[in-house]
């Protein structure tokens, strides 16, 4: 089916080559993509589609330097200082900057924008990154429960304040990635007077009225007034958003007069728009890259990539599946919730994962093996960290050891799940299923009749979310996209007790865990009550460590522990491709950009 479809699309591409158009609308850039914007409110938005619109209209204190996601340059701040203890960040605010609607940027706007974001802190939103480091809580609601509404409000005032004409942030603990959080769209600066005029938070202690709104309840849901190079022209949800150049921009005005982002879910339509010259940049799913190859080879389209992305694809082991789960593991035909708590069993699955084939077939060779949770290119990524490579002999040996030989002799049943529609996750799950079940021939020859069965199930996203949240999945595959380019944004979800995935993996099952440091040799060797306690302590130490070298060694340690304990399965870092018309100028890849930054672009 896929091959036929790909063939048809290749034909589609060849037909398109016959009559290639010339540049249309030379001062308007049209991006045709998938995924609709959720909101235009920077404090509410946490998806890349919204982020793409926001970072063309609003600006942050600092911004990514060129293609780097770890180096920054001043934007609305002209300079900043960090206190020696790493707790106080002081920013000098740029003068002479205008908002789209005519207001002038002041330090008070900066303070207000952060206060407003912390007060809003919507459910499932991005502000947890700020509350974690500025207030040491997961949410403002949690703080209010502890110290009351007044106390929480005061804490916000203390965390971000105006001192003279400078803006001062006071952190609860030293946290190196704080500066990276400030470059995200959630830290964008809005015009205080204008937001209040729209019905926004009025700067009083009566903050509850503006806390945790639904997207549409936010006063900035469908309007925008930033200092960025483009102004909002029109947003029609589900259809398109358009921007016009802001001529009062504090830097040189953008080269483009207009930019449009169109939502077109159907791939064939996007391709046709590209071939007709109506789309300058299009989103190309990996399954359809073959359709673009003839265009690139014929010099009709330009390809950037594969570029290392900020996304990983990983399998997760749940050490204790919740009672009543439809995916309950079985050992010798009997329910065994903690079946995957045995490290030999987890290692066997890792040895059975042929990552080279997985990368070649499912990712068209455009993915890299990860050596622990931390992404390649981030502080703490250890290129020398050994991982468990594909080796069916070792997989067999580990299976023989699992649960003191019971798995090998009496059989087991384990379910691997992935969210419906994800072809790559399906591929790797079915490959592991085949490889593990191939060992049943050897077992049968030894007289063990009950098979080791691996069941692969695809689950629709809503149900998948439910089962994952409820710790009911056994082995599950999912992706993670980083919020900021720092290893904490990887070890936290993968290993910390409240992490997005670790929460559902139940590392607490592993008791009395001995730890002897290999990299962070200044740490004492000791026994921890649980594996989770060990992970938590190291994650906390790493995020607060001001010495970069020491922090790196702590992340090395965490990667090592993750691999040695086999808490994950078939972990890859994926890549991204960018296709554009040959007349597009100025594009470069920055993995931290949520989308196209039109200020850099031109046509001609």
């Amino acid at each position: 089916m896929w091959r036929k479809l790909s063939l048809a699309l290749v034909l589609f591409g060849v037909v398109g080559l016959i009559a290639w158009p010339q540049v249309k609308n030379p001062d308007t850039m049209v991006v045709v993509t998938i995924g609709d914007i959720e909101t235009l409110d920077p404090a509410w938005a946490y998806d890349t589609a919204s982020g793409e619109a926001i970072f063309n209209m609003y600006e942050t204190l600092i911004f990514f330097k060129g293609a780097s996601s770890t180096e920054f340059e001043p934007m609305l701040a002209t300079a900043w200082e960090v206190s020696p203890d790493g707790l106080v960040y002081t920013f000098t605010i740029r003068s002479g900057v205008k908002f789209h609607m005519g207001g002038t940027l002041t330090p008070a706007d900066v303070v207000y924008s952060f206060h407003r974001a912390l007060i809003q802190d919507r459910s499932g939103g991005p502000i947890h990154m700020l509350t974690e480091v500025l207030l040491d809580v997961a949410s403002i609601g949690e703080l209010a429960e502890a110290v009351g509404d007044g106390g929480a409000f005061q804490a916000i005032q203390d965390a971000v304040k105006l001192v003279g004409d400078k803006v001062v942030f006071t952190l609860k603990f030293p946290f190196a990635p704080f500066i990276q959080i400030l470059a995200g769209t959630w830290s964008a600066i809005a015009d205080k007077e204008w937001v209040i005029a729209q019905g926004g938070w009025d700067s009083t202690a009566n903050w509850r009225n503006w806390h945790d709104p639904a997207a549409e309840e936010s006063e900035l849901f469908k309007t925008a007034n930033g200092t960025g190079p483009f102004k909002l022209e029109r947003w029609v949800p589900g259809e398109e958003i358009s921007f016009v150049r802001f001529d009062g921009y504090w830097r040189a005005p953008a080269k483009l007069a207009r930019a449009v982002i169109k939502v077109v879910d159907e791939w064939g339509t996007r391709l046709a728009m590209f071939e007709a010259g109506d789309a300058d940049i299009i989103a190309v799913p990996r399954a359809y890259v073959a359709a673009m190859d003839p265009l690139v080879k014929a010099g009709k389209a330009r390809l950037f990539g594969p570029n290392p992305g900020a996304v990983s694809q990983t399998g997760f082991f749940n050490f204790k599946v919740k009672d009543g789960s439809p995916f309950m593991p079985l050992l010798a035909g009997v329910a065994k919730p903690d079946l995957l708590a045995d490290v030999h069993l987890r290692r066997a699955f890792n040895y059975a994962a042929d990552l080279d084939t997985y990368i070649k077939e499912a990712w068209l060779g455009e993915a890299f093996k990860l050596r622990g949770p931390v992404l390649e290119g981030r502080l703490g990524y250890n290129k020398d960290q050994p991982i468990l490579g594909f080796d069916m002999e070792k997989a067999q040996a580990e299976l023989r050891l699992a649960w003191d030989g019971t798995v090998w002799k009496s059989g087991a049943r384990i379910t691997i799940t992935y969210n419906a529609g994800n072809v790559q996750r399906k591929f790797v799950a079915e490959m592991i299923e085949r490889n593990i079940e191939s060992l049943n021939d050897i077992r049968r020859n030894e007289g063990f009749r009950i098979p080791i069965a691996v069941e692969v199930l695809e689950i629709p996203w809503p149900s998948y979310l439910k089962y994952m949240d409820d710790s009911q999945l056994g082995i599950f595959f999912i992706g993670w996209m980083e919020d900021y380019a720092h290893p904490h944004n990887w070890v936290h979800p993968f290993m910390y007790r409240t992490g997005a995935f670790a929460l559902g993996q139940n590392f607490d099952v592993m008791k009395d865990v001995a730890f002897a440091p290999v990299y962070a040799t200044w740490l004492p060797a000791k026994t921890y009550a649980t594996l989770q306690a060990l992970f938590d302590e190291l994650v906390d130490l790493a995020k607060k460590e001001p010495d970069l070298k020491k922090a790196e060694l702590l992340y090395f340690e965490l990667n090592r522990l993750a691999v040695e304990n086999s808490i994950n399965l078939a972990s890859l870092m994926t890549t991204a491709r960018h296709y554009e018309q040959v007349w597009v100028k100025g594009w470069f890849y920055n993995p931290s950009f949520p989308g196209e930054y039109f200020y850099n672009l031109a046509k001609g």
Partner: protein, 342 residues
């Protein structure tokens, strides 16, 4: 007839109530976390995110309480917020309906006229070349998936020849709408273009409608053609038609005055439901041609478990269905005076 119409309309609230109870009942089988997934695009990054969403929207309240809360708002004219359309449900239907209606109305014209005309011609040329040709034409219409020939049309007439285009309208018209130099009275660009006296906009809207209209209407032409043909063949064999011919009436009068009118009764049944059929058929067409209409919105809402939007669209479809059936019943009486609605 008035009493008949009033009776039919009085049934409407009961049908709507039944529909809402049914849809709510179906959704009650879903876990609150599954319904919260509508608000979560990615893996929740904080532990309490899902619980906060469930509490905020009352997704774990008993279903009858959720229903009561919703129906209370509905009687006040508030159908809730459509998360998938990013606007209030009623506003969303109002926004997308003109596009779909415009598409369906334009598709109705070839469906009715070509379908009926070719159907009659096929019957008159029974088992001759024309009949065989239309049979093949109809079979192809039924068997060829509409998304395939939709994509083929795109490939040839847009990507290659650039005669027609996907979407609803060109960017330059959108800019005129934004600038206020083109006024949208009905939301249907072809009609609005006439009202604005703008032939250029009319032409542009038509240029965007050609491919979706062909894609959407082909299967319906084929269907109507076959129904008309069968009905016409049966009627042409009736004794009164033979009598009419024996009387020496002109063939044209026999066919179009005596035979065709009676043959139209089953066709009217079909025709009344065609509009609803077209509205259902728009899902694929709107997706392929990136045509922002009600069908695409309904499909997105259903796949994302957006209960409020699904309810809104279901209610709207129910109203449409009731009125569609009513129109067919009235049409029966018009075509055949022997049928008395009372």
């Amino acid at each position: 007839m008035v009493a008949f119409i009033v009776r039919r309309l009085l049934i409407l609230p009961i049908i709507l109530f039944g529909v809402t109870v049914f849809v709510f009942g179906v959704f009650s089988f879903l876990d609150p976390v599954m319904r919260a997934s509508l608000y979560v695009r990615d893996v929740p990054k904080t532990t309490d995110a899902l619980q906060r969403i469930i509490a905020k929207y009352g997704l774990d309240d008993p279903i009858h309480i959720q229903y009561w809360r919703w129906i209370n708002q509905v009687v006040r004219g508030n159908f809730g917020w459509s998360k998938t359309a990013q606007r209030p449900v009623l506003q969303a239907i109002g926004h997308y309906l003109p596009a779909t209606l415009e598409l369906a109305l334009w598709a109705m014209i070839p469906v009715i006229f070509i379908g009926i005309w070719l159907g009659i011609l096929s019957a008159l040329h029974h088992n001759r070349a024309l009949d065989h040709t239309t049979r093949v034409f109809a079979l192809v219409g039924w068997s060829f998936p509409s998304f395939v020939y939709g994509l083929l049309l795109l490939m040839v007439f847009y990507a290659m020849l650039q005669w027609f285009a996907p979407g609803r309208i060109s960017d330059w018209v959108i800019r005129e709408v934004i600038a206020g130099t083109f006024i949208q009275h009905t939301g249907m660009y072809t009609l609005d273009a006439i009202l604005n006296g703008r032939l250029d906009v009319f032409g542009d809207a038509l240029r965007h409608l050609v491919m979706p209209v062909i894609t959407l209407s082909y299967i319906q032409w084929a269907l109507l053609l076959r129904v008309t043909r069968s009905s016409m063949l049966e009627t042409l064999r009736q004794e009164y038609v033979i009598t009419a011919r024996a009387k020496g009436l002109k063939e044209r009068v026999v066919v179009y005055k005596h035979a065709a009118r009676n043959a139209m009764i089953p066709v009217a049944t079909m025709g009344g439901l065609l509009l609803i059929g077209l509205l259902n058929g728009v899902i694929i067409t709107e997706t392929v041609f990136n045509y922002p209409g009600l069908g695409r919105m309904a499909a997105t809402a259903a796949t994302q478990l957006d209960i409020l939007t699904v309810l809104g669209i279901t209610l709207f479809s129910s109203v449409l269905l009731v009125f569609g059936n009513l129109a067919v019943d009235i049409l029966y009486a018009v075509i055949d005076p022997r049928i008395r609605l009372e």
